[in-house]
């Protein structure tokens, strides 16, 4: 036991004396969270638009006010002529231009219809579509209020569990999966192979330490630090970006701990395949981190993938982890609902650990 504590101490020395480990462990989670949370967004705030109001009457004025007060748009320019449309778009700042036709109010009152043109800068197609949809829904809303009547069916949309479609709700769980994968799987596989590469594994093997003690001693510090990172991410998500935790915190932490163990067993398994730090890093990056980003449903919805990728996504642990913690955090569901995901993680962990123990060498060959 004393030997084991010394072993842990040694491992912490390694971590805290290596600037690169420190960066990955402490700086990277924070930077990534802030980056994903603030810079990379799918929702629109203060998109700059221009308006060409040929009519200048009460209706166009009201509609303009309504659009600008929605909070999604900011009036950057009032334009007066056709060629200006092109020049403004070319400058690149303005993403959308609204053109009200002549006699807007008159035609709207008399004929019940008027012309408004929405021109978007589709060099970023996703963004353009979202902007156009927003304007459309505002105009529809305006017409409904003005006519004060129901024109047939009016769909009422509500986005449950994320009413404002905040992308940060998605990023916090996704980011947790990536960071935990990075620390638990990649860093441990590197740190285990480092012992073999430097030759110190030779001495550790020729010592009374049991293989299980060696592995546990190498892995436990990373598990602790990974868990610490997870807590920081959850707390920052809540306090800075307002990502709610509706369900049980205890369950959330347990599920996180569970995922950490799965990732650790992946890391151990990788270290039994290779003795080179570089190879371990490459395997971790290509076989673990990339699928965690691409196939977990973090960025791209799994339902939209070709069947083969959908099938492959099942062996990505992060997929199951994401489903589970989103259910806990955003929907407030309990173990009754997420037992299946938990079970999948459990099976993965057991299989990996058994395989690793069988492959771990008590000798050099």
């Amino acid at each position: 036991m004393k030997a084991f504590i010394q072993f842990l101490k040694k491992e912490f020395y390694h971590i805290f004396r290596d600037p690169r480990s420190l960066m990955i462990l402490f700086a990277m989670p924070l930077v990534q969270l802030l980056l994903f949370g603030t810079v990379i967004k799918t929702e629109i705030n203060d998109a700059e638009i221009a308006i060409w109001d040929k009519s200048r009457d009460i209706s166009t004025q009201k509609l303009t006010n309504k659009i600008l007060s929605s909070g999604y748009f900011k009036l950057a320019k009032i334009i007066q002529s056709e060629p200006e449309i092109d020049t403004e778009f070319r400058k690149g700042k303005i993403k959308l231009i609204i053109v009200f036709d002549y006699n807007f109010d008159k035609r709207l009152t008399n004929e019940g219809k008027a012309s408004v043109q929405i021109i978007a800068d589709a060099s970023d197609p996703n963004n353009a579509t979202i902007l156009v949809n927003y304007v459309e829904s505002i105009i529809n809303d305006f017409l409904r209020v003005k006519n004060d009547m129901n024109i047939g069916l009016q769909p009422q949309m509500r986005m449950f569990y994320n009413e404002e479609m905040k992308s940060v709700y998605m990023f916090v769980p996704g980011l947790m999966a990536i960071i935990l994968m990075l620390i638990s799987a990649m860093m441990t596989s590197i740190s285990l192979t480092k012992e073999s590469e430097l030759g110190s594994m030779e001495i550790l093997l020729v010592s009374p330490l049991r293989p299980a003690q060696i592995i546990l001693g190498k892995v436990l510090p990373y598990a602790l630090l990974a868990f610490l990172d997870a807590i920081v991410i959850i707390r920052m998500g809540k306090n800075i970006f307002g990502v709610p935790i509706i369900g049980s915190r205890l369950l959330l932490f347990l599920e996180t701990l569970f995922f950490i163990i799965t990732a650790l067993s992946l890391g151990i398994f990788i270290s039994t395949i290779t003795n080179s730090q570089l190879v371990a890093m490459m395997i971790s990056a290509v076989a673990l981190i990339l699928p965690t980003i691409l196939l977990s449903g973090f960025i791209f919805p799994i339902d939209n993938m070709p069947w083969i990728l959908q099938f492959l996504s099942n062996i990505v642990p992060a997929k199951w982890f994401l489903i589970a913690i989103k259910n806990i955090m955003l929907k407030g569901l309990g173990l009754v609902v997420i037992w299946k995901e938990t079970l999948v993680l459990l099976i993965m962990t057991v299989v990996l650990l058994v395989a690793s123990i069988r492959r771990f060498k008590i000798r050099l060959e």
Binding site: F7, V206, P208
Partner: protein
């Protein structure tokens, strides 16, 4: 009392035969030197004894324990120092020693007595990171770490490779004092001059044990006369001698050229006159006692012919 018994051990890797039917016995409290060039199989034999690899065939025993079966027990009683420096570079001298002490279930204080001699020399640098030590100090630290649990058998794989001459001498001095404590020491080295510092040596070449003997006896096995020659142009002299006699009998040793006078064909006087006539006016020739290196080269020739 036998400390190490190796019985007909062979080790085959995928492509190479590292050890070929080796048998050797090392007495308790003996310094046994494994001498041989790179790739001779020294490391493989040491790793088999340290329970790090298994022999393809044959058996090895250490303090009566089978190296394949009883590896757990053996790991408690041996101190092993691998060929390349394998302590932790980012841990200080002191931390390394404490770590290995605790791994073997002991403390530095408990066996300080044993490591004192070596550790005292590196203690002034105990706060320094191991990676920043010089080659000689690294080896002393590694030896301290291998000794910290008072092993019965010490296995040292080329401990003096890449170490300066003074540190090498000190290192061997330390081994002598450890021997006095009753520790069996198996040490490998590519340096022939270190052979004479061992109690017994085994000359190993191409996976075969060519000779196991006292260093003095190995020299006695050399049955030929040996000349040391030197002139102002040793390179030309060497070329000349190789043309004149069997090229294998001519070897360069530092400032001298050693010539084996096989079957006493030559006499110094005749040879000297001949060389002066051939343009080596300042030639000096003397008859010398063979060193272990001469014997080794002679033995090596015996296997390759």
């Amino acid at each position: 009392m036998k400390s190490i018994i190796v019985k007909n051990v062979s080790k085959k890797y995928k492509q190479a035969q590292a050890l070929d039917n080796i048998s050797v016995v090392v007495e308790k409290g003996e310094i046994f030197g494994l001498i041989g060039p790179d790739g001779a199989g020294k490391t493989s034999l040491m790793r088999i004894l340290s329970t790090l690899i298994l022999p393809t065939s044959g058996e090895a025993y250490l303090e009566g324990l089978n190296c394949a079966r009883d590896y757990k027990k053996i790991r408690k009683i041996i101190g092993y120092m691998p060929g390349k420096f394998s302590l932790y570079h980012d841990l200080s001298v002191e931390e390394n020693l404490n770590f290995f002490a605790s791994v073997f279930g002991t403390t530095v204080r408990e066996n300080y007595d044993l490591v004192k001699l070596i550790y005292a020399q590196i203690e002034p640098f105990k706060k320094r990171r191991a990676g920043k030590l010089s080659g000689g100090m690294k080896q002393k630290l590694a030896l301290s770490c291998a000794l910290i649990h008072y092993p019965k058998v010490l296995i040292l794989d080329e401990p003096t490779t890449g170490v300066d001459a003074v540190s090498r001498k000190e290192f061997w001095q330390i081994l002598k004092t450890l021997k006095e404590r009753g520790i069996t020491i198996l040490v490998s080295t590519p340096y022939m001059d270190e052979a004479e510092l061992c109690d017994r040596v085994g000359l190993i070449q191409g996976g075969k044990m060519m000779s196991v003997n006292l260093p003095s006896e190995i020299i006695k096995e050399f049955h030929h006369e040996l000349f040391a020659l030197t002139s102002e142009n040793n390179y030309r002299l060497m070329k000349h001698l190789k043309e004149r006699t069997n090229p294998h009998d001519v070897q360069i040793f530092g400032q001298n050229i050693h010539l084996i006078n096989r079957k006493a064909k030559l006499s110094i006087e005749v040879l000297k006159q001949d060389l002066i006539n051939n343009g080596f006016p300042n030639i000096s020739i003397s008859k010398i006692q063979p060193g272990i290196e001469d014997c080794f080269i002679e033995l090596m020739r015996g296997t390759s012919d």
